[in-house]
């Protein structure tokens, strides 16, 4: 069967996804990566062939200059994550037939990562983030040391199986919307690993971890777009783990941040009126004493007011509100 592959080829001057300089505009990631040249190849392969089969075929028999990184061919090693038709995928797991669009398959290095050559991106930012969350157990040595190995209840590890499945391919980070505009963001892979160690009963630094992850660039910088969940080839669902960390962090008392204030203001509004009060949500999330940030919002508020797009000044309560209050009273937890 004939397949047409369009390969994005690069000069080796890759630049970091978010080289955003303070005060400078944020260019879209695909505008920021070096100019790419697409080269078209035709390969003859069986109908069950995957994208990686085509790339190896090209490199071995048509064009030795093509650079591609791969190893296991079995979706285990995580080497061959790349952009296939505009989304991050493992080339060894993506069937050519399923990824043929308008008669061709477009393969390229993800524009949110620095490029080394052709399809090989530099994973340095990925590993920096991975390391930053301290992805190892930090145990306090009991004195005297135990006679045998540490035992962990089965149930505690079952809770972490999903995160342990991560093969560090970077597909989630390559498609992360927050990372595309914010190089500081730890990103989905690192934060899913962060939960894996925070949730491990053998780890003794839970509180310190939650404090670190609550800082700028951490759990509250996620935009909640589910791209990581959609792209992960191993079902890790990084966003779900980030949301678990948010809850653990708030429960552990790390509440002095806009994320927690936003959640509190949201819950208060639903409890007291059954609806979202857009007028108070923004200022409450920012914090009434954060004058500089409050001022930043004013021009947009003024534009919306002028267009007649502001919510009614008197916030309406839904009929039957006592039901909602009763539900909050019963299961509202700290939002009671």
């Amino acid at each position: 069967m004939q397949f047409t592959i369009e390969v994005g080829r690069y000069n080796p001057e890759g630049r970091y996804a978010d080289n955003a300089i303070p005060g400078e505009p944020f260019p879209a990631p695909w505008n920021r990566s070096p100019v790419r040249r697409y080269q078209t190849y035709t390969v003859d392969l069986p109908e069950h062939a995957v994208v990686l089969d085509a790339l190896i075929e090209i490199r071995e028999y048509q064009d030795q200059s093509l650079a591609v990184r791969c190893a296991c061919r079995s979706a285990i090693c995580g080497s061959c994550a790349m952009w296939i038709n505009g989304h991050a995928n493992l080339a060894c797991k993506s069937k050519l037939q399923a990824f043929t669009k308008d008669g061709k398959t477009r393969v390229e290095s993800p524009p949110s990562m620095p490029v080394i050559r052709d399809l090989v991106c530099d994973m340095a930012p990925f590993w920096e983030k991975h390391l930053a969350v301290k992805p190892w157990l930090q145990n306090k040595q009991p004195i005297p040391p135990p006679d045998e190995e540490y035992r962990v209840p089965n149930a505690a590890m079952e809770e972490l199986i999903q995160e342990v499945s991560c093969i560090s391919c970077g597909a989630c980070l390559m498609d992360c919307e927050s990372f595309a505009v914010n190089s500081e963001f730890l990103g989905p892979q690192a934060l899913a690993q962060a939960y894996r160690y925070t949730g491990d009963p053998r780890d003794a630094e839970t509180k310190e971890r939650l404090g670190q992850y609550s800082e700028s660039g951490g759990i509250w910088d996620c935009t909640h777009c589910y791209e990581c969940v959609a792209q992960c080839p191993k079902g890790v669902a990084p966003l779900d783990q980030i949301l678990k960390l948010r809850k653990l962090a708030v429960d552990a008392g790390f509440t002095n941040n806009a994320g927690t204030r936003h959640a509190d203001a949201f819950a208060e509004s639903v409890r007291d009126s059954g609806r979202l009060n857009e007028l108070t949500l923004m200022p409450k999330s920012i914090g009434y004493f954060n004058v500089i940030e409050q001022l930043k919002v004013l021009p947009s508020a003024f534009n919306m007011l002028r267009a007649g797009k502001l919510p009614p000044l008197i916030h309406h309560k839904i009929p039957g509100l006592k039901r909602i209050k009763a539900i909050f009273e019963r299961v509202g937890g700290r939002f009671k």
Binding site: E24, P25, E177, C222, C225, F266, S285, H316, I318, R323
Partner: protein
């Protein structure tokens, strides 16, 4: 066709033009709207993450209210759609969660049996109303307009709870609708991406850059306007657009239409009836292309 109508907080708040235009197109589409006036906010995912049990109960109550009406629940907001679908899916899959939610809402005289279908207006056009009926109602073709679709994350992801595994065509409805109305759909990367709204309160400049980048990309591909089924995207893409232009140091000036506004125009309604004169970014240029004034 009778539907349990869930307008969502934003259409009753900062996007009144969405509520007005959605109710205006109900009649031509043959929709009999029974508004769930006593249903609470979904919590927009914020309550789900901090207190899943509370969010199960609140959304279980809404689903039970629709069930009592014996009608599908219709949303006009990608975010409401995503959150309600998510809770509906988990309540249906997990008897333990269903029992706990039902125990909480039982005091209020409600019980959810798990039968409600949650459907965005966009899905209903294709799956319930029928695209032939929509086509038959067109009085004004939108010929000459290039329109960029902007779905909003929560109507696309996660795929399981939204039923996109069974119905992958739901990812193409906006493009198909734009073409049906006589306009040309613009293909660009941003159509399935995030508008940045969920980060707006925590990380303002980055959130504005995120949304602004997508609009600029659509504009470079020739878009006269963007259309979205999500009012939260609208708040960021329209409401904050001048500020996004300031952050990106680039003129943007692309109007953002709500899905029902676009349908309303095609059904022959006037721009004022759809409150197209109440946007932050003027809709004038786009409307002039189809010889309308605002």
């Amino acid at each position: 066709m009778k539907v349990a109508f869930y307008p969502g907080c934003v259409s009753k708040g900062a996007c009144p033009e969405l509520y007005v235009s959605a109710t205006a197109i109900a009649e031509p589409l043959g929709l009999e709207l029974h508004e769930l006036t006593q249903a609470p906010c979904t919590g927009a995912g914020v309550l789900s993450e901090q207190n899943p049990e509370l969010a199960d109960a609140l959304n279980g109550l809404t689903l039970a209210m629709a069930e009592a009406q014996d009608a599908d629940l219709m949303t006009i907001c990608s975010t409401c759609q995503g959150v309600l679908s998510n809770h509906n899916y988990h309540l249906q899959q997990d008897p333990g969660r269903m029992d706990r939610a039902n125990a909480t809402i039982a005091d209020q005289g409600f019980r959810y049996g798990g039968t409600t279908k949650v459907k965005h207006l966009l899905w209903m056009l294709f799956e319930d109303i029928g695209i032939d009926r929509v086509a038959a109602r067109i009085k004004r073709k939108l010929t000459g307009l290039k329109i960029a679709p902007f779905y909003g994350c929560y109507i696309l992801r996660p795929v399981e709870s939204l039923g996109l595994r069974e119905r992958p065509e739901r990812k193409t409805y906006l493009e198909r609708l734009i073409a049906l109305l006589g306009a040309e759909p613009v293909e660009y990367r941003g159509s399935t991406k995030c508008c940045g709204f969920p980060m707006l309160t925590f990380n303002r400049d980055k959130a504005l850059a995120m949304g602004g980048n997508h609009i600029i990309e659509a504009k470079e591909k020739g878009a006269d306007l963007l259309v979205t089924p999500c009012p939260l995207c609208h708040l960021n893409l329209d409401g904050q657009q001048p500020d996004a232009a300031r952050v990106l140091k680039q003129e943007i000036d692309v109007p953002i239409f709500h899905l029902p506004q676009l349908l309303g125009l095609a059904f022959g309604l006037e721009p004022e009836q759809l409150r197209l004169n109440h946007h932050v970014v003027s809709t004038k240029g786009a409307l002039e292309k189809i010889e309308l004034k605002v």
